[in-house]
């Protein structure tokens, strides 16, 4: 059954508008996660929600062929392989975020930083925002984000295939 006849034009139009909004909300929540409600987990869940909408309304074929440009699902190949690489990357990033401080302490050679030590950099005079904080916690949040996205999409893809 092809996806053209499957869903109404209303559903497809609405999804086309809604998906970018969801992704924007996800990014906003990711960036404010270090000192406000939000963070990597909920941002990842929202991103997967956007993917799930595309899955439901446009079909699995459309998402994997036209959006991700991957061919058939194999064992650890195709779309599932891509998702696996996503959460692997996320896990590596989250794990490295804590070690960064040890390495930095060694490089700077002015006192020792323990594992997981956090820091923050303020960037001033930015247009529109005026002031941006870039905390080291952001890297950990990014890692969590990729883990959640990769893992949930793997579940969606495997369950959707059966």
């Amino acid at each position: 059954m092809s996806s053209e006849t499957d869903t109404t034009v209303i559903a497809r139009t609405v999804v086309r508008v809604v998906v970018p909004i969801i992704l924007l909300t996800a990014v906003a929540l990711l960036l404010q996660g270090h000192n406000l409600p939000g963070g990597g987990f909920i941002a990842g869940v929202l991103t997967v929600t956007a993917f799930a909408l595309v899955y439901i309304v446009f079909g699995r074929e459309f998402l994997q062929r036209s959006l991700l440009h991957v061919e058939e699902d194999g064992f650890l190949g195709g779309a599932i392989g891509e998702y696996g690489r996503t959460f692997t990357f996320g896990l590596a990033l989250a794990a490295s975020a804590g070690v960064g401080s040890i390495v930095l302490g060694e490089l700077l050679d002015d006192g020792q930083f323990e594992f997981l030590t956090q820091g923050v950099v303020f960037v001033y005079h930015v247009p529109v925002y005026h002031e941006i904080e870039i905390p080291t916690a952001l890297f950990f949040d990014l890692g969590v984000y990729f883990v959640v996205v990769g893992a949930l999409l793997t579940i969606l893809a495997v369950v959707g295939r059966e």
Partner: protein
């Protein structure tokens, strides 16, 4: 270099991460995984050296640079590094066994990352000095072990894993509840800070802590599989792949034992009981002593009798490990009852230290011997497809090295000199005799007889006599025999040269009972 304290943790964590992207290259993945096990062993060895070289024997590491008691503190002392050493040896052996012992598809998909994450959880539990952090590491460990138990995903495995997961989730909920209560009562989560508070608090303020610590003890007993919380053990061990069962019985159980020793003998030992049946000025341990004793007796009897009636090797080993944990708790019970009144220091050569030493020596011996036996059982089940006694028989004739390793492991658990198990059992009897407790001696004797009975049965039915049809045509992979033989040699060497193990365990027991030293080491920096 205090960074050494986190080194084992980071090695295991990064090995887990590194084995994930290598799923498409099976050989490389296996090589990285085993190399990770070797590096873990090296990191633990370096940590042991550092702790031994340290002046007061406590390496304190404050995560994220937050001073204790506000941040999370990792503490490596003699007790922690002893358990870490056991973990490193058993874990490396299990990894080498897994390369051939786990089906290739399963290894590629998820086995190696999950295995290393379980090691991360175990390592964290041994190192942490924060009671809530202990809960987190327990969860890390259990989360991976749920998947590893259900690994073969047949109907039996799924049922066993469901029970295992449900019981442990229930246990985690109770644990969280009691930790929350402890935080509300004492106002701190740091173990050293809590010990300081409890030592100063009058009995009226510590009463709620008694109930909460009893609740917490039930959780640790569940993780260690002590009667009456033993019922999940046989099914879970039978369902799990052999190397995982070896880790569960050899190491993960010891996390429960470690938590009991660390929390009850270091932290809660200084709290005063409200006046009551145990007399004025008694410590919490006076209350826990009889509880430990009852549960130890229950474990030895239930485990021993259960093991005698089993029809398969896995089930026998699982019941046997219930009984052996009883042998670990038995000297702890004697030690707990012998703790002097609150406010007096625990003498270094008394029954308390000796009891904990006995429990630790027995833990190390059981960890090595039981994992060796699970490896032999796993080698047979991987080769023959079954470990039921009616299909086994005559393994000693077909494969003397494998059968010999089994024989040594069994003798170590029975306690024949000069194996390490002899000293473990000897110390248990010694502690019982010094305390003058006929109950302890009688139970230990009964347990020893039951151990001899079920291992004799296993040997006679599975390994002795003419080879059965299945055994005669089987060829056991060399790597299995190698792992089993190396562990067997290790058990013999530890037994013949028993001195170092005794010294390590004695030092560990000393550091477990020296609350003041622990508190000073952890809180010293901030005062």
């Amino acid at each position: 270099m205090t960074d050494l304290v986190v080194a084992p943790l980071l090695v295991a964590l990064f090995t887990a991460v590194a084995t994930l992207p290598l799923r498409s290259a099976r050989r490389v993945q296996q090589a990285v995984s085993v190399a990770g096990g070797v590096v873990y062993l090296v990191a633990v060895a370096a940590l042991v050296r550092a702790v031994k070289a340290d002046g007061d024997g406590y390496l304190v590491y404050e995560l994220s640079n937050w001073d204790a008691p506000f941040g999370i503190t990792l503490v490596a002392d003699d007790l922690s590094v002893l358990m870490l050493g056991l973990t490193a040896v058993v874990s490396l052996a299990a990894l080498v066994f897994s390369v051939r012992g786990i089906p290739a598809v399963g290894q590629r998909l998820s086995y190696h990352p999950l295995y290393h994450l379980m090691v991360v959880g175990v390592t964290g539990s041994f190192l942490t000095g924060d009671i809530f952090n202990l809960f987190v590491w327990f969860e890390v460990m259990l989360m991976s072990s749920y998947v590893l138990v259900v690994f073969y995903s047949g109907p039996d495995e799924t049922r066993a894993a469901l029970h295992y997961a449900f019981l442990n989730l229930l246990g985690s909920a109770v644990m969280l509840l009691s930790i929350g209560g402890l935080y509300a009562t004492t106002g701190t989560l740091n173990m050293a800070d809590m010990a300081e508070y409890l030592a100063a608090a009058p009995a009226s303020q510590t009463t709620p802590v008694l109930g909460l610590s009893a609740m917490l003890f039930a959780v640790f007993a569940l993780k260690a599989g002590i009667v009456p919380f033993q019922f999940w053990v046989p099914d879970a061990y039978r369902a799990a792949p052999a190397p995982v069962a070896a880790m569960l019985a050899g190491v993960v159980k010891k996390v429960g034992i470690y938590a009991i020793v660390r929390l009850y003998f270091t932290v809660f030992a200084v709290a005063t009981l409200p006046p009551g049946p145990f007399g004025d000025n008694a410590t919490f341990l006076a209350f826990f002593g009889p509880v430990f004793l009852l549960m130890a007796i229950g474990s030895i009897v239930v485990g021993g009798l259960g093991a005698v009636g089993r029809e398969d090797l896995d089930g026998l080993l699982a019941y046997s490990s219930i009984g052996q944990v009883g042998f670990i708790v038995l000297p702890l019970a004697v030690a707990a009852s012998a703790v002097p009144a609150a406010g007096t220091a625990i003498p270094g050569d008394g029954i308390v230290t000796l009891g904990i030493t006995a429990a630790l020596v027995y833990s190390v011996n059981h960890g090595l011997a039981k994992s060796l036996l699970f490896f032999v059982s796993g080698a047979l089940s991987r080769t023959l497809g079954t470990v039921r006694f009616d299909a086994l028989g005559g393994v000693s004739e077909r494969n003397p090295a494998l059968a010999g390793s089994f024989f040594i492991g069994a003798l170590a658990l029975i306690g024949i000199p000069p194996l390490s198990g002899f000293f473990g059992k000897f110390l248990v009897f010694d502690v019982g005799a010094r305390a003058g407790s006929w109950v302890v001696l009688g139970v230990a004797l009964l347990g020893a007889i039951l151990t001899i009975a079920y291992f004799t049965l296993a040997w006679a039915r599975g390994f002795w006599g003419p080879p059965s049809d299945a055994v005669a045509g089987a060829h056991v992979d060399r790597s299995f025999v190698l792992v089993a033989a190396v562990l067997a040699v290790a058990i013999v060497v530890l037994g013949v040269g028993f001195g170092p193990l005794y010294d390590l365990s004695y030092e560990a027991a000393r550091s477990a009972t020296e609350t003041q030293g622990y508190v000073d080491a952890v809180l010293g920096g901030s005062q």
